[in-house]
């Protein structure tokens, strides 16, 4: 193992379990066969012979399996966002005891096995071993049956169809995740979103002083039809060409299933009518991404005021629309290029 001397700052974070002492032997033995080791990794297991290697990669504190970069981190290492989801690696003390970097943060720079200082030591050999191991997708408990070697696993998990959905509420990013029924209740109960049953709608958006188009004023309505849920977004925001209103639909589900549906939106007045027909985007695409791709009905404020019956001072935009299910899957010419800026 390569060692580097590093300065260690003492942590100023308050660490729970600070006063707890950990007693572990350097090699953990489980009762029963070596195969029992992998029961700590719940879910489908590969039949790789190196089951004892899994044992080596287990954190003695939380028994979670660890991944590269396997290094001995110190408290000055930046905590990456992903650490909440995956155990980032091992930390070592000078005696070679290991623990995952999630737990490392909590142990105040002290090895829980022997109380020596933890440093920033990387073990390439062990990283290579971890790379060749196969582990189940972390969404196994949500139904994903797949097993991957390390790097493929991370990539798969970012696209896994069983991964939970993020709350589709527009506005400040709500971090709630869950399955569709959960998110529907969440939208209704926590965000107080209007729920509608049916596949047609007729909304009037009224704003008494449309000159004040606040940045990203928006409304969200949820529609339930065809046994599915759809999010209808209506927004006022500034585009390069001035204030615009935009309406678009998102499907609460995956993109593949979203393609079975189509929707139309229509706005009109004074002998003019603008209609948009399209495929709802999946809520896997963030609300902002869909908005910025202009994939919906966009009306400049002047035109919107023109459509508003009356004196053009007030915005009274009537938008009608409907959702329907396509009889057959759209032709293969369909592709959704990446339009995020």
């Amino acid at each position: 193992m390569e060692t580097e001397s590093m300065d260690c700052e003492s942590s100023t974070r308050s660490i729970p379990n600070d006063n707890e002492t950990y007693h572990f032997s350097s090699t953990k033995k489980h009762a029963g066969a070596a195969a029992a080791v992998v029961t700590n990794i719940v879910g489908p297991t590969s039949t790789a012979a190196a089951t004892s290697v899994y044992e080596l990669l287990e954190c003695p504190v939380c028994t979670f399996s660890m991944y590269p970069p396997i290094h001995q981190a110190d408290d000055t290492t930046q905590f990456r966002d992903s650490v909440a989801e995956i155990a980032l690696g091992q930390a070592y003390c000078h005696n070679g005891h290991t623990l995952c970097s999630t737990c490392k943060v909590r142990v105040h720079n002290r090895c829980p096995t022997c109380r020596q200082e933890l440093g920033d030591i990387r073990c390439l050999a062990l990283e290579k071993v971890a790379e060749s191991l196969e582990l189940p997708c972390k969404y196994y408990n949500l139904g994903c049956p797949e097993i991957f070697p390390y790097y493929s696993k991370l990539n798969h998990e970012s696209l896994c169809n069983f991964r939970p959905y993020s709350c589709p509420y527009a506005g400040s990013e709500c971090g709630v995740v869950g399955d569709i029924p959960f998110l529907v209740s969440h939208l209704r109960d926590d965000h107080k979103v209007d729920m509608h049953a049916g596949s047609t709608f007729n909304h009037r958006y009224v704003k008494s002083n449309p000159r004040e188009v606040e940045n990203a004023t928006w409304m969200l309505t949820v529609f339930q039809c065809f046994g599915q849920y759809f999010c209808l977004h209506f927004e006022a925001f500034q585009l390069g060409m001035g204030p615009v209103y935009m309406a678009f639909l998102r499907f609460m589900g995956d993109e593949e299933e979203a393609r079975s549906y189509s929707y139309s939106l229509e706005v009109g007045g004074s002998g003019r009518k603008l209609t948009w027909e399209g495929t709802p985007r999946s809520i896997r695409d963030s609300h902002r991404k869909v908005r910025d791709s202009n994939d919906g009905l966009i009306i400049q404020r002047n035109m919107a005021l023109f459509f508003s019956s009356g004196d053009r001072k007030e915005l009274k935009l009537r938008i009608t629309g409907k959702i329907w299910k396509e009889q057959h899957s759209p032709d293969s010419g369909l592709c959704i290029p990446n339009l995020s800026s």
Partner: protein, 214 residues
């Protein structure tokens, strides 16, 4: 009707058009002569002459509708199509190079009347946009008896504009600036243009029709 490919060639064609001595050398004398002759002989002398609806601002020709049609065909080489419905493809290999006020004009002949179909690329507060709209070669009163639809589709999306053609008494710039037509951002136009190749070409298919309301 066969779909046409209108090439929006960049500066070269636009400059060519602007520099083309349509309204300066070859035609000037004739126009002035004819205008002078015409004023005295026009049948509908209650009707003010119309300005040439050709979008280039340098053309100062005026006349009645019949005269302007000849002028547009012979001097500006604008194409005329028969029929109430049409389908055009606007193609450009590098739409980022389209400077503002690049436009195409096509004439449509139906109901015994003529209509101007404009397609323009322009900037709206620095955002590149495209607009398509129709104008009626006649007075506003008669213009309001017609309606028209323009439709852009592609890539599983469709946008439809239904409007009332503005009379050519309004300059094409007036209509364009009032956004009274099918107007989309270039971003959306590229979305409509996207196919399975990775080309960044603009390939907009615009179809439409005109009908008489009353």
């Amino acid at each position: 009707m066969e779909p046409r490919i209108n090439h929006l060639q960049i500066e070269s064609q636009v400059h060519e058009l602007l520099d083309y001595p349509v309204c300066t050398n070859q035609i000037t004398s004739t126009i002035y002569q004819c205008s002078n002759d015409y004023t005295g002989e026009v049948n509908n002398d209650k009707e003010k002459p119309y300005n040439c609806p050709y979008s280039g601002s340098k053309c100062t020709v005026t006349g009645d509708i019949r005269w302007l049609l000849q002028h547009l065909r012979n001097d500006h080489h604008v194409e005329m199509h028969d029929g109430r419905s049409f389908s055009h493809r606007y193609v450009h290999h590098n739409p980022k190079h389209l400077h503002h006020a690049t436009w195409m004009l096509t004439l449509l002949d139906c109901y015994g009347r003529q209509f101007c179909l404009y397609f323009e690329a322009f900037h709206l507060k620095k955002t590149p946009m495209y607009i398509a709209y129709m104008q009626f070669m006649g007075d506003e009163e008669e213009a309001t008896s017609f309606s028209y639809i323009l439709e852009i589709s592609g890539n599983g999306r469709k946008m439809t504009w239904q409007g009332v053609p503005r009379s050519i008494r309004d300059s094409h710039k007036t209509v364009r600036d009032s956004q009274d037509g099918l107007i989309i951002t270039r971003k959306l136009a590229m979305f409509f243009s996207a196919d399975n190749t990775n080309s960044k070409e603009l390939k907009l298919k615009i179809s439409g029709r005109i009908w008489r309301e009353h």
